[in-house]
């Protein structure tokens, strides 16, 4: 406990270095902007901007990206409320009550509630994080290759069991991500492997950023182009009156929602830890529960402040939660943290439980930066609400080409190869076409990041056991994790069997 506080203190010393402080403030502002733009969320921002962080040391880079992640969670609410279009999928639930409030001329009330809820969610979750992470990392220190592989299986299994998408498409997405990561050289024998169509560009493998920018940059933008073509132009922007007096009154009113805020924060945090769940389902669940525990559930959907507080506290808490498995176990809790994890590999840090002991400066700098980012994001958000509303008026046709240019250069920068730029364009277009058929793409991004870690873990485990798969079930930690993974993997099948068995009874009863 005391040691944790000491380490946290040393983290704050890193955060208050002028460069890092500037990166946090800049990252928060940029994240708010990205989150506020309809269609762009934290994952897009982090994927597109990661190549820019080669400029600063790893600690600064991750602090900057984490601040973007945080800011985007705040910003998502702005377009949900003002335009009725979620700024990111994580802010879908915020439209349910945020939009009605804005239509009643109470946009400022909804925006203040969103900002304060985000702050509370972020603060509670980061405190939970501070005290959960070190013990978890400590337990994980004894993990060997079989445990690592079992954990990765668990991460993939959550997509199949809890993702809610087509099972075959989810499994396909995971498998293709893992195969893409196997391109290049066989890590153990050193032979060239899967050099597709004998194109030499594949010899250096497929960088995860090429897939991530392809899908979340190019593909996402093509998707937005389509939505604009369907929507036929600009949507209705609500008016907001923001004065100091009104803001103070709004803040006082929020004190009464503390129960909702607390529930949303804790729920969001724990849902965020699961790889397939994360901020979007977390915020929807929090909305549902807030409605159930409310004294006036009939107000929900018509402009209840709790209806804004619950999802906004949950999505910020979830974004912190998703960093817990990333930092302690080396398993990302969300697509955004998958990209952060990939970034850590580029910066020369080996993800996993050893991070806490080997790079404690990096870890505690990041944790302390979350406290700071949270504070700056709420201040920037509350102070510049009118500015962000103006930004929403920026035409898409100005923003889109700038983002495309950033994608093209971002695809080139990590490896300086034109092959990768072409590959990124192909991933973008194919990803867009697949997304239109409801193929989930987040598992593929997670898989391409985890692939280079999963394969050696599997092969080492099998070498230890001389080819026996039972090694994954007989060890103290690997066993239960693997069994949990298998249960999740077969959950959809069990559901079908359950429904079939219950079916006739339900009909006759």
């Amino acid at each position: 406990m005391l040691e944790t506080l000491q380490l946290l203190g040393s983290g704050f010393l890193i955060v208050f270095e002028p460069l890092n402080l500037a990166l946090i403030i800049g990252g928060c502002a940029l994240g708010l902007f990205i989150g506020a733009m309809p269609g762009l969320g934290s994952v897009n921002g982090v994927a597109i901007l990661l190549p820019l962080t080669f400029l600063v040391p790893p600690t600064g880079a991750i602090i900057f990206l984490a601040a973007i992640y945080y800011g985007a969670m705040y910003g998502g609410a702005i377009s949900s409320i003002m335009l009725g279009i979620p700024g990111a999928s994580t802010a879908v639930a915020t439209t349910f009550d945020g939009r009605p409030l804005a239509k009643q001329g109470l946009a400022d009330k909804a925006l203040t509630a969103a900002a304060v809820a985000s702050f509370v969610g972020g603060s509670i979750s980061v405190v939970l994080f501070t005290f959960f992470a070190p013990p978890l990392a400590h337990v994980a220190l004894v993990f060997g290759a079989p445990e690592e592989f079992a954990l990765m299986m668990l991460a993939f299994a959550t997509f199949v069991g809890l993702g809610g998408d087509d099972i075959f498409k989810t499994i396909f997405s995971i498998a293709i991500g893992l195969v893409l990561s196997a391109i290049g050289f066989d890590i153990i024998s050193g032979e060239p492997r899967l050099v597709l169509w004998d194109i030499t560009g594949f010899l250096h493998g497929v960088n995860f950023l090429v897939l991530a920018i392809g899908i979340y940059g190019i593909g996402e933008m093509l998707w937005t182009v389509e939505e604009h073509a369907l929507g036929g132009g600009e949507s209705m922007l609500s008016e907001a009156t923001v004065t100091v007096k009104r803001t103070m009154a709004n803040l006082r009113e929020l004190v009464g929602t503390w129960k909702t805020l607390l529930m949303g924060s804790v729920l969001g945090y724990f849902v965020g830890i699961l790889p397939a769940a994360g901020a979007t389902p977390g915020s929807l669940m929090a909305y549902g529960i807030a409605k159930q525990i409310s004294n006036e559930p009939e107000k929900f959907g018509k402009g209840a402040v709790e209806g804004v507080c619950a999802p906004e506290s949950a999505n910020n808490a979830a974004s912190t939660g998703s960093m817990l498995p990333m930092l302690t176990l080396g398993i990302p809790g969300s697509p955004t943290t998958a990209i952060l994890l990939g970034g850590m590999v580029i910066w020369g840090l080996e993800p996993g439980p050893r991070l806490f002991t080997d790079h404690s400066e990096f870890v505690w700098g990041l944790i302390a930066s979350l406290y700071a980012a949270n504070l700056f994001a709420v201040i920037i958000n509350l102070a510049f609400i009118p500015v962000f509303i103006k930004i929403l008026k920026t035409p898409f046709t100005i923003l889109a080409p700038i983002i495309f240019v950033l994608c093209l250069i971002g695809g080139y920068a990590p490896t300086e190869s034109m092959h990768d730029v072409w590959l990124m364009i192909i991933f973008g277009i194919v990803g867009y076409l697949m997304r239109k058929l409801d193929y989930p793409l987040a598992p593929a991004v997670l898989a391409i990041v985890l692939g280079p870690l999963a394969e050696p873990a599997l092969r080492q485990s099998l070498i230890i056991s001389d080819g026996e798969f039972s090694i994954f079930f007989t060890r103290a930690y690997a066993g239960p994790i693997m069994i949990a993974a298998l249960i999740l993997l077969f959950l959809p099948l069990l559901k079908i069997i359950y429904v079939r068995l219950r079916g006739p009874k339900a009909v006759s009863g």
Partner: protein, 167 residues
């Protein structure tokens, strides 16, 4: 083309790709090698097999019209949407193709002018300003600060004096 047809085509294409990946993985030893564990091709081979099985599953659902996509008779991409998306995608492909010939600083302004002026119908003043400003910012950020040299094609000699100035 309906969504249902697109679903079939995509599953067939991805199935074919999975088979190609399986064949390609087989170039390396698949299976157990005594003394050194699984061969280098084992991991991608079985994953490609899982891809193939998933595609067969998608096809199975397609045949029994199971699920919202497999039973959808909606148009996959409406013609006016296709025009917009194809214009953007094509302009990206042309831009990347031009990188190797007239360089990034020749291709990016052309792309920006096309997008802002032709697709976005913004004024010449705005389109022109951004088309010059953005490449300049990129030059300073990537080439000067990050020292990542971007492709220049035939425009390479024009940059030599600039390099001399900064490095």
């Amino acid at each position: 083309m309906t969504v249902r047809t697109a679903e079939l085509l995509m599953a067939l294409m991805m199935g074919a790709f999975s088979i190609y990946l399986m064949v390609k993985s087989y170039e390396l030893p698949v299976g157990w090698i005594k003394g050194s564990g699984p061969g280098g091709g084992t991991w991608p081979f079985w994953l490609s097999a899982i891809m193939l099985i998933s595609c067969l599953g998608i096809l199975f659902n397609w045949f029994r019209k199971h699920g919202p996509i497999a039973s959808s008779t909606r148009v996959y991409i409406q013609s006016h949407v296709l025009m917009d998306v194809a214009a953007v995608a094509a302009s990206l492909i042309v831009t990347v193709a031009l990188f190797s010939f007239i360089g990034i600083y020749g291709a990016l302004p052309l792309f920006l002018i096309f997008y802002l002026r032709v697709l976005g119908r913004h004024s010449w003043l705005l389109s022109g300003t951004l088309s010059i400003l953005i490449p300049v910012v990129i030059f300073y950020f990537f080439e000067i600060t990050l020292k990542i040299i971007l492709p220049k094609g035939i425009t390479e000699p024009l940059f030599l004096p600039l390099y001399k100035m900064f490095f």
